[in-house]
């Protein structure tokens, strides 16, 4: 069992138990951080392939709306089922769009995914049935049939989020170590060679795209349950931009990096907006700039003692 997985185990246990004595607002914040970390984890998989999606909010939003609509349509209340539904729906749509997007690279990939997310945004804002920009409330979830109350209400969703994150990190970690996972950086390096080794670059990218979408869907669903409210902003391009921001901030060093990055980002923004309401944008900008200039591998590289052999 390697370091990442050991670290994962330690962190998960510490957080799961620690959360029992932690005030709600921290548990809530942690839930949001980890949920958004899931989205970033997906973007990281794409980024290792050299692809950046400026439209990942599409799947984040789909995950969120899936929760709301499943509650309205079939009165689904179980948190686990709702998150699963959001994940599957996002993945399913990614399978379809993937056939198209897998043919695109760099800026065209970024802009086409952005266009798709903005079209969803437009339809959502327009749709009276989904109450346009403001009325979509999400009912508090149930856990394994139990109506949420007491500790379960406080920590249930957090534990669910931890579980989801654990599965995701373990999965992505194993995936990156697998032959197909190795194709992430390989494709960024040289697509022609991949084709001439006999593997379809499009297929590889399609798979990564679906993985990223599923993770984004899960993140969106969890955030929707935690916040208890859905609005189209979750599909607007600035939301996607934020996720890309955190991806760069985190670095692609490890499947754990996105969660560290996400925590740093939320903390940074919380303080920036609270104590410098007129200049938080600038603070974020400067931070991002310094990061790119002086920490090209993301904050994760701070934690890496051994310099990886082939620095990208």
């Amino acid at each position: 069992m390697d370091g990442t997985l050991r670290a994962l185990a330690v962190a998960v246990i510490a957080l799961a138990i620690g959360s029992l004595w932690t005030p709600d607002w921290i548990v809530f914040l942690a839930t949001i951080i980890i949920a958004k970390g899931l989205v970033v984890l997906g973007l990281m998989v794409l980024w290792r392939t050299g692809l950046v999606s400026f439209g990942q909010a599409l799947y984040y939003g789909i995950g969120a709306y899936a929760v709301g609509m499943a509650q309205l349509a079939f009165g689904l209340r179980d948190a686990f089922l709702l998150v699963a539904f959001g994940t599957v729906l996002a993945a399913a749509i990614a399978v379809l769009l993937g056939f198209l997007l897998a043919r695109y690279r760099d800026i065209f990939f970024a802009m086409l995914s952005l266009a798709f997310s903005m079209i969803l945004y437009g339809t959502l804002v327009k749709s009276a049935t989904l109450c346009s920009t403001d009325c979509f409330a999400v009912l508090p979830p149930r856990f394994a049939g139990m109506a949420a109350g007491g500790t379960l209400a406080k920590n249930g969703l957090f534990w669910l989020t931890l579980a989801a994150a654990t599965i995701a990190v373990y999965g992505v970690h194993r995936y990156l170590a697998s032959p197909l996972g190795a194709l992430t950086t390989a494709i960024r390096d040289n697509e022609i060679r991949v084709e001439y080794l006999g593997y379809s670059v499009e297929r590889a990218i399609h798979i990564k795209y679906v993985i990223a979408a599923a993770l984004a869907g899960a993140g969106g669903a969890i955030v929707a349950l935690a916040v208890g409210h859905i609005d189209p902003d979750s599909t607007y391009w600035t939301t996607s931009g934020e996720f890309v921001f955190v991806t760069i901030l985190s670095g692609a060093g490890s499947a754990l990096a996105p969660f560290v990055g996400s925590a740093i980002f939320e903390a940074l923004r919380a303080y920036a907006t609270a104590y410098a309401p007129y200049s938080w944008q600038m603070i974020l900008g400067v931070f991002l700039l310094l990061l790119i200039l002086f920490l090209p591998q993301g904050v994760w590289s701070l934690f890496q003692r051994r310099v990886r052999r082939a620095a990208p």
């Binding site: 370091g3 607002w25 921290i26 914040l29 804002v125 346009s132 409210h229 490890s254 923004r269 007129y278």
Partner: protein, 436 residues
């Protein structure tokens, strides 16, 4: 890598422990009865800061100072909330609902405020209301307009001291039909999100209910903050509607007027701006005479004179060098409502508990800045006020923006009775509306 990963893990664990320890301090903060700590939330950045956030923040500063000093005119001339001074701070509302909810939890659970007053956007209000209920924290909305808050649900801890946006649309429709009885058609220009869509929906429904058969020429829904409306204006010019309804505000409203006025749109059609009052002081002569302006209630130029209203207008203008607009009034009234509730509960016994304050707040009638506020709807949690409209007139001699043909519609004329949804009430032809 390995070691690094473990460092993270321990860091994570450490974070949790740190959190636990910080929590030890937090409740202590919550216990302290006096002073009363209030979190104030409004837009301090982004496009909504200029027209709403900053005027509201200024009003809050002004009123809270006056309350603590006991400088307000009667009936508010006693110091503090039930004697306890107010200790307040501001939080920026800008950002997605997720962030707004995060900040709310932070205020309530970490900083342990006694009450939260604020929120401009209906999205924020709908997002916050359930959370306030979950955290059992007295929360007073001041500006957000959507009627859904108390019509789709009922809350124990949430109050709104200003009327719903429904009265803007109903009032506008009544005023239009009274002032321009001959009209055959109307059109709409509203921002493409809930605010614009609902405003148009209510206006349209009221017009059809009051005078069936009027023709709708066109309904335009440009993107929020689009800034460029030449195409929409062409369409409106071509449509030649007798009346144009718009719930535009702020930059969008200003841009629209700048682009529409020279093209003679206002000469051809009567323009009705439900929130137009916010710009009349900025625009002066640039706003064509005869445009119908509203202020979302009896605020600003529509405020009924009286010691309180006169003090507010003067003190505000002296302190901030610009007259207060309706968001200022709404914020002031939210705070006055809170004070009335505290004082009322305080009469029974000093330093009342939150539940006592809430009990006192429900169904409360109190003197607001500009008019009386009546917490009549939503089981006593939703205020109803009258609404007023007037025609803009720029006084060449004094260089003062003024209003003519002002008409007031009493609360009972523009608000549905308790238990009836605004939309249903409008469709039913507003049965039982008492307009005299």
């Amino acid at each position: 890598m390995q070691r690094g990963a473990e460092m993270i893990a321990w860091a994570g664990a450490g974070l949790v422990l740190a959190a636990v320890t910080t929590m030890a301090a937090a409740p202590a903060a919550a216990q302290t009865a006096s002073p009363v700590q209030i979190g104030l939330v409004t837009f301090l950045s982004g496009p909504a800061a200029g027209p709403f956030g900053v005027p509201a923040r200024n009003a809050a500063e002004l009123v809270i100072d006056a309350i603590n000093k006991g400088e307000l005119p009667a009936p508010y001339d006693n110091k503090g909330l039930a004697g306890a001074p107010i200790d307040s701070f501001f939080v920026d509302e800008a950002g997605p609902v997720t962030k707004v909810v995060q900040d709310f939890r932070d205020m309530v659970e970490r900083r342990g405020v006694a009450a939260v007053v604020g929120y401009v956007s209906s999205g924020s209000c709908l997002g916050i209301a359930p959370v306030a209920e979950e955290l059992k924290k007295l929360t007073v909305f001041f500006d957000c307009g959507t009627p859904r808050i108390f019509e789709d649900a009922s809350y124990h801890y949430v109050f709104r001291a200003s009327s719903t946006a429904t009265i803007d649309s109903i009032g506008a429709a009544r005023y239009v039909l009274k002032e321009f009885p001959g009209i055959k058609s109307y059109a709409g220009l509203n921002q493409n999100y809930a605010w614009g869509q609902d405003s148009w929906g209510d206006f349209d429904a009221t017009m059809q209910a009051l005078k069936p058969g009027l023709e709708v020429k066109t309904k335009q829904f440009p993107k929020l903050f689009a800034g460029q409306y030449s195409a929409e204006i062409s369409e409106l010019l071509a449509a030649r509607a007798d009346v144009i309804h718009s719930s535009f505000y702020d930059g969008d409203l200003e841009s629209f007027i700048l682009q529409a006025a020279p093209r003679g749109l206002m000469e051809q059609s009567k323009l009705v701006l439900t929130t137009g009052e916010t710009i009349m002081y900025r625009f002066g002569a640039k706003l064509p005479d005869g445009v119908v302006l509203g202020a979302r209630g009896p605020y600003g130029p529509f405020a009924h004179p009286g010691p309180l209203a006169d003090w507010f207008r003067k003190a505000f203008t002296d302190r901030y060098k610009t007259p207060p607009t309706y968001p200022s009034y709404q914020m002031a009234n939210a705070l006055l409502g809170l004070k009335s509730a505290y004082d009322k509960a305080g009469k029974a016994k000093p330093s009342p508990t939150q539940d006592e304050v809430i009990a006192a707040f429900e169904h409360l009638k109190f003197q607001g800045v500009g008019s009386e506020i009546n917490m009549a709807l939503g089981k006593g949690h939703q205020a109803i006020t009258e609404i007023a409209y007037g025609k803009y007139k720029f006084d060449e001699k004094t260089g003062e923006p003024t209003l003519t043909d002002i008409v007031y519609y009493p609360a009972s004329c523009v608000n549905p009775p308790e238990g009836v949804k605004s939309s249903d009430w409008i469709k039913s032809g507003m049965t039982g509306a008492k307009c005299e």
